[in-house]
Symmetry: C4
Subunit: 387 residues, 4 copies
């Protein structure tokens, strides 16, 4: 084996739930140290398909590329396994959709075929009322931009009207940057201290740029207790909940929570690996009767029934300031238009990622910013409808 060689790894230990040992372990070690290009077929030898908690990480092939068939393996969804899989390519093998549908698994990959039928038809005589009126709550002194991005994203996803509840000091920023949105003002200049009664709105989004001041914490709890409309809970609203876990019971049923991994840790505890975190996510959804959208390279959506949906769009250029705020706006927009929370989550996450892919294609992953995601939502809708 010279470093110039290519090694094809064809599953000499995969699919087991026990780590590879003995001579095979020795071979894996040699291959990993060889400097050769390693291509794993289906799954790197030694890597389990789902839970790798009990696995021996020194007994797993570190591939440069993995060629897998039709489906992603669950373990490919977790960041810690990228060092084993390298770049993953899926090969279609002609599976009929009906077979796929009937395969029993709680895990699904979201693709265009799944999202297209979820998109609501807009009728000729529909009016602003049909498309709903969303209430976005958040912002604080020095962090108003999150609200700007959230409101713009909501408007570009088909909502009828958006009103932003913001600290009064943010009025000029909001109105200059998003003339299409209306603003209502907190009595506090710099923070959220008391939130408008959401009864007259169709959906709400809360958290972007909101901060965690004690008056904001109180206001959030009251808001959740009174909230009878579908709601997206994001960012600092989640962080406040993390610091007041007894308020979990006040989260309205079927709310959508959109933590990134750090925020989810604060909410539900730290786990050693991706599989455990996923299990934790599913349990959290079940216990709190909510949808959790755990953001990442493969954003995972869990719901109280135990199903999990992994997103297939998006790229690392979306790891940029304000990217999460645009997702909150997209989700609130879909809820206001009457999408069921789970459908809103599936469609919203896919649209967000696809818009990000369109932006990155034009501007590079480095150069795209959150505003570019928003500007690409229209093309994302077009591609899904035409696709």
């Amino acid at each position: 084996m010279t470093p110039d060689s290519v090694i094809i790894d064809t599953l000499f230990g995969s699919g087991l739930s026990r780590p590879i040992t003995g001579i095979f372990r020795e071979i894996i070690k040699r291959i990993n140290e060889s400097g050769c290009t390693v291509i794993s077929v289906d799954i790197p030898s030694g890597l389990f398909g789902e839970d790798n908690e009990g696995n021996d990480i020194n007994a797993i092939i570190k591939a440069d590329f993995t060629l897998s068939f039709h489906f992603q393996k669950l373990s490919f969804m977790f960041p810690e396994n990228e060092k084993f899989t390298g770049k993953v390519h899926l090969l279609p093998i002609g599976l009929h959709n009906s077979i796929i549908e009937s395969t029993e698994t709680p895990y699904r990959l979201i693709d265009s075929d799944m999202v297209k039928p979820l998109l609501k038809t807009r009728n000729k005589f529909d009016h602003k009322g049909t498309f709903g009126h969303g209430l976005m709550v958040g912002g604080s002194y020095g962090r108003m931009g999150a609200m700007v991005l959230g409101a713009r994203a909501a408007l570009r996803t088909g909502i009828g009207l958006v009103t932003c509840h913001i600290p009064s000091g943010g009025n000029l920023i909001m109105q200059c940057a998003v003339p299409e949105a209306m603003a209502i003002h907190d009595r506090s200049e710099k923070n959220i201290s008391e939130i408008a009664d959401p009864r007259s709105f169709s959906a709400a989004g809360i958290g972007p740029g909101m901060g965690k001041e004690s008056e904001t914490q109180t206001a959030l709890q009251k808001f959740l207790v009174n909230c009878r409309i579908p709601v997206v809970i994001d960012a600092d609203a989640l962080n406040i909940l993390s610091e007041n876990k007894k308020w979990f019971s006040d989260i309205p049923p079927m709310s959508i929570l959109t933590p990134h991994p750090k925020e989810f840790e604060r909410l539900a505890g730290k786990k050693a690996n991706g599989f455990d975190r996923l299990r934790n996510q599913v349990e959290f959804s079940l216990e709190n009767k909510c949808i959790v959208v755990l953001k990442g390279a493969h954003t995972s959506i869990s719901e109280p029934g135990g199903k999990v949906f992994f997103n297939s769009t998006g790229n690392n250029g979306m790891a940029t300031a304000g990217s999460g705020d645009t997702l909150t706006g997209i989700l609130m927009s879909l809820l206001a238009q009457g999408y069921e929370p789970l459908n809103a989550s599936i469609a919203g996450v896919f649209i967000h990622g696809l818009a990000g892919d369109i932006a990155a294609g034009r501007l590079s992953c480095e150069s795209m910013i959150a505003s570019d995601i928003i500007d690409s939502i229209g093309e994302a809708f077009n591609r899904i409808r035409e696709g």
Copy 2:
């Protein structure tokens, strides 16, 4: 009849003013329950061409598509009949324009051929004075964006100058967002309380984002009483009039009122169906000597002489925040340039809808926002001129 069949419905009860009964009613019921694709020719059987007040809604074919000849039927203009017509397609049948012109009907569909000759020629030596100076009045704390959109739309429709009368607290928003517009400031920071004498202006638009504070109400009445220039009355200005119906007599003759259906209800009362609402609109125009632009999928324009013009451009993507404010700006712009109020209404509504169609084509109906309508006005002018 299996659900896969296509049924062609060729008018076995249409054109009558009495509901279908007996065996034909039974057949219609069967067809509607069949699950087949139904295509009506000319008009769905059982549907009257104009007023369906006394009709039996269980005795009307529910078509998926209606193929009609050359003209839209009046009843197709009303939202409640979409469930009978499905998607309407017009088939040209070679009618000569002179025949169309001579057909006696108070109803006309606005198309490019009607609008093109209405557009004023701009001459080489024309200057800012030729194109007029418009006064836009409105805005309030948290709702200044409406004025931003209105002023931008006016500027992009050919006016010479725009001045905005706004609450003083809106100064920064307005000037940042629309450097081409000038601002004059109300003594009130958050509301309109006293409106500049409009004598030195060529036209005015009043209402966008204005609110209904009591000082604003008084200011509006004074403004209307003193107004000797053509004026567009929109949004909260209409809502104030609804709450002060005795002020109807203060509306300057040939003013353009631009209510959406809810606003029109408040002005003129609720009606059970589209035809009655249309009759009501015509009467309102007659009684108050004004033009009513009733916004909707087929915006209807009524004038004191009893004629009604239905718009043929536009789409449901325009059911988005600020869309109405852009129409107010467009209409004020045309009035300031010396268009007769009826011509301004016909041309303005058509341009607004066409700009919306251009925006939706590029961005999807979901993703387009009011600013995109404004940015497409130029291409709308080009298409009408070239069309």
Copy 3:
């Protein structure tokens, strides 16, 4: 003569300095009343080439089109003669440039061939200092947009740095809208009351949106007296001078004044027709040792030596709010880069008009706004260089 005929008018009274009388006058009357399409060759019969003061306006052909040879006649430059010439087309007749150059006339039409060699070459090692630092002075409460447009136009015309002296209340507007410009602040919040010493700047522009408050008047005079750098005087600065004609002597030599016709009337008095106004403009330049850029369809540039340059670019879409402010920015930018005032005027007016033509071609004359002129300056430079 039926109204369908075309009449070719071949100069049966032109070139004279006395009005046409008798039978010829009668024929002209008949032609003008015929309803026929009239095409004049060279110049409509009866119209004088320059001064039509003493002419009999009932003895001049009213053409629909005039086909003229190589040159515009002077009288074609004046708005009041458009009704005689109709649309003017120039036919090239192969005149050699050297003949044109040697023809003795104080009047020249500015075209791309004249402007191209005036444009300064930018060298590889040139730096911000080479391109100058301009001071723009103006703005007032509610009219800050003029400064935004002026500063943007200056930056897009090649200047190194721009500083804006503005009322302190305009700081946020200016800095939000033009991050590339620096601001210095008047002690007054709403007006200009005391202007920074311009000694450290390369050129200045004064007037856009400035108002005429008495403190502003005093400040302007002091500024002019101290000004040792090339300066563009526009808008309200001109209006203040009109109200204080004794300050004319304080205008720094070779300043560029950019009045529109109304402003020029206030400065130099009203004249009955275009030719008299032109003579007045030439005299004004001579007496006040300044360049006058009289804005209009054919902007005329006069200089103390008696020469006049007419612009050949531009369109009526430029008769829009802020169009003049962008010209002020362009001229100041060229002065700051070391262009001689006359060259700056010729090149600046041509670039401004060409940018306007580019904007109108894309957006229609109705829909283009001043910001679009600014955004088209780059393409204007490219076209001149390539042309």
Copy 4:
């Protein structure tokens, strides 16, 4: 020799370190006075390849064009020699890269081949944390735009998050213009007086628009003393250091300083010519253990080890307000993403220049502004990756 002739100058005195004298000097004088087009091959006769301090400037050919082989000569990098070289064209002569690499010289020209391998790979599971959180410090009353440009440039170069420490009065400007950036506020409304502890950030940039108030000076020194993260020092931060040279020792090791020539003079003293200034730059880097990015037509990057890198991208259109602020943003962005300071400097300067070239190609050198550089960063990344 008639002025129409072309003279080919083939090195009859070049490469020497002593000035040309006698008959050759006489010939050079004749050639320079001839009015002919002069083309020098390799280098104009009489010009030394590096240091021309002791040279006789009357004994050097003044070429219109210089055709040189594969490499730029060092002396071509200096503005004062442009009058000898005219426009320089490089002719490839098939040198193998390994020969180039092994040539011992402290001087390198930065090109796409050098930058491409420096660009970090972004991995699928990378998140905002991976791409760092930058702290940009600066701004003052009337000069906030520099911060707007710096923050935007940082975001468009791949950073995860940007926080701007600004005078509190700049809050609205910053948040309106860059919703993706967060702001923290100085206790002073108009200046920087106390800087946030940078410990929680990945990199910092300080200086744009900051002013030199005495409280700002104190704040800067404290900041430098406490700074343990990579930092870019620019603009007024450099000017403050120039006035407090004893603080040089507080500059954190391997900081990037980005002076333009005037700023560098204030820091390190004035030199008579480009070569001396370069030597001075190298010594400054060595003494202060920092990287100096001396901005100009061929920006030179010196580092403590004595190597110098000259940039090959960029154009005189970048001699425009705010161009330097965008470079600061780009460099801070790369540092925050974990680039070594020298690599950040090489890649950042090349990207900045290439983005400027893309902007100038679209808009002309005159019309491009700093915002256009920022908007072209994405295409610059794409070109380098594809190149």
